[in-house]
Symmetry: C2
Subunit: 224 residues, 2 copies
Amino acid sequence: MDVERDRGRYHSSASGLTVVAHFFGILATILMLVWLLHYREGLDLDSDDARRVFNVHPFLMFFGFIFMAGEAMMAYKTVKAEWQVRKFVHLFFHLVAMVLGIVGLHAAFKYHDQVGLTDMYSLHSWIGIGTFTLFCAQWLVGLAVFLPRSSPSHSKAMIAPWHVNGGRALLFMAIATALTGLSEKATLMRLQHQNEGRLINFLALCILLFGISVDFSVSLARYA
Amino acid sequence: MDVERDRGRYHSSASGLTVVAHFFGILATILMLVWLLHYREGLDLDSDDARRVFNVHPFLMFFGFIFMAGEAMMAYKTVKAEWQVRKFVHLFFHLVAMVLGIVGLHAAFKYHDQVGLTDMYSLHSWIGIGTFTLFCAQWLVGLAVFLPRSSPSHSKAMIAPWHVNGGRALLFMAIATALTGLSEKATLMRLQHQNEGRLINFLALCILLFGISVDFSVSLARYA
């Protein structure tokens, strides 16, 4: 792919798919808050109630990490602005996602400490830590390759398809992590046949549809 | 996208990424069989032992449905053959995936019947049924649009990006479904701190890496 040549193609206006992505992203955030504030104990990272500390984790991992990363992806591909501006917004939103993700991860480990649970045994934790680590690596490689004006354009062109596909894979890995986390929580607390269980299912469905519509809006930005 | 013009570009030989995808796909199949034959009761759709009936479900949903669908995707994009041949192989592998998927779904419902469990309450079942239904719809639309020689090329060109992105979204939805299913099973059976739990984690990880490497091999077939 020739980055210089393709630059113009990215100047497509925000498509209808971006609206769909925002719809599911905002709906998921609302359902998450209904779940944590109405059915659960609320959120507080400094609380002595370990459950309130834990609740910071799902909220920040979705709204802080996944939603912000989705915004970063869509900002680069669908907003009408100068290439340099979009690149900077893309980088900055991902930085916000990373920082909020770190706080979200901290909440989970702090909760484990408070109640004496073992860390890192579940599938959710394995793919979650893997995804987050690769996300940070992808951000650093992106920073090193795409930010400096002096970067040779052939190395940008060589890395670009891997960066794009890697970013999409990381988005879907993060979505899969969220779904296993919610499914594990509902199973552990035996919520499946209750209203709370159905709320969690709808929340997970919205997170999945957010991921799919972000992918569609970014991939089809040239066509739709 | 101009289908006619891009046709030649698909004639790229199977890339190294396809080898990686096969590695993880075959490893996941082996780990699945170790789990079901060594740790569990084995597989038998006609058994009076409901657990043996259930075990057909994870095996066919991965090896029958996800693995075959991945092969279908890779066959279209990475094998050196005539366009018509690749199109037919793509369609046929997907048909095999659909048939084996139906038998796999039947196994889950039969198990629920045998032990008196409620159907369709979990997140796993919701996204699983959604994915399978959309997969069948995608197959039918693909058949109607891309198979007839008389299909106007502008309608093929209009549908193609949606077909490609839809297929990829369905692959990731199927992977997310598999991961929630395995995570739910491990949580329900309280296997997390046992060897069996770790085996299931590695199995799920291989399924995830299969999905990602199929996506990479298909998306990067032109570059890698």
